[in-house]
Amino acid sequence: MSDAQLLLTLAVALFALGLLGVIVRRHVLIMLMCMELMMNGVNLSLVTFAHQQGSAVGTVLVFLIFVVAAAEIAIAIPIVLLLVRRKRTVDLYAYTDLKG
């Protein structure tokens, strides 16, 4: 197995573990952190492909993803704080009345 395949396997595993965390954990902040883990897996796959192809496209995209991640956190954290202030809990299953 080549190094690239190893790294892509690692990226897939990180993405899948993050997805599992988003589904199974109940703490809102831990779910957010698992989403960050998914994004890190995608970044690793992009860097690996850029490394294989020898082009700068993948690294540019990784750079933009950094910015998007920062913006996502800047929006998500105030929303979480508002929810916690309203329901006095970080348990996601207290927010089921948000369903339509």
């Binding site: 698992c34 960050e36 883990l37 998007v68 913006a71 704080l81």
Partner: protein, 174 residues
Amino acid sequence: MIESLLLHLDSLLLYVFGAGALVSAVLMLVLRQPMRVALALISAMVFLGGIYGLLGVHFIAAFQVLIYVGAVMVFMVYVIMLLDPRDPSCSQRFSPLVVPAVLVFLLFLGALGYVVWQGFPALAEAPHGSVYELQRFAASFLTEYWLHFELTSVLLVVAVVAAIAVIGVNRGKT
């Protein structure tokens, strides 16, 4: 012995960093305290930064540590400290969806892992070396991808305005 070890130091470190990132990701799923989960995520990000450095993308490694660990995770740790750590409502670690989620996880991992193991015949191994000069990256960033760069700055402005709006809506109600 030591010479051969030094010769294969790169791939050895790659395995070590990869295993570290994987172990940290698994720890994120099983640890109970949010602060410990945050520390596990930070260690996973640092290991990934090490992998980027080994691949030769040093500026991405630097920004991984600066932006992810330095900004995003410090923000996250700050919010974890802001919330009450003795909140008893989260005594249950996992949601009732554990069994179907693990099944979907295994299916997903199997499908994507199968694709990766098949290999990518179109992607020939590129010549290694100085493909990641910062100069080349910066030039293509500001000539070829200037529109994306500008759109990202617009996105950042929108995010700042939205964060202020979210706080302002709440302030108006109370």
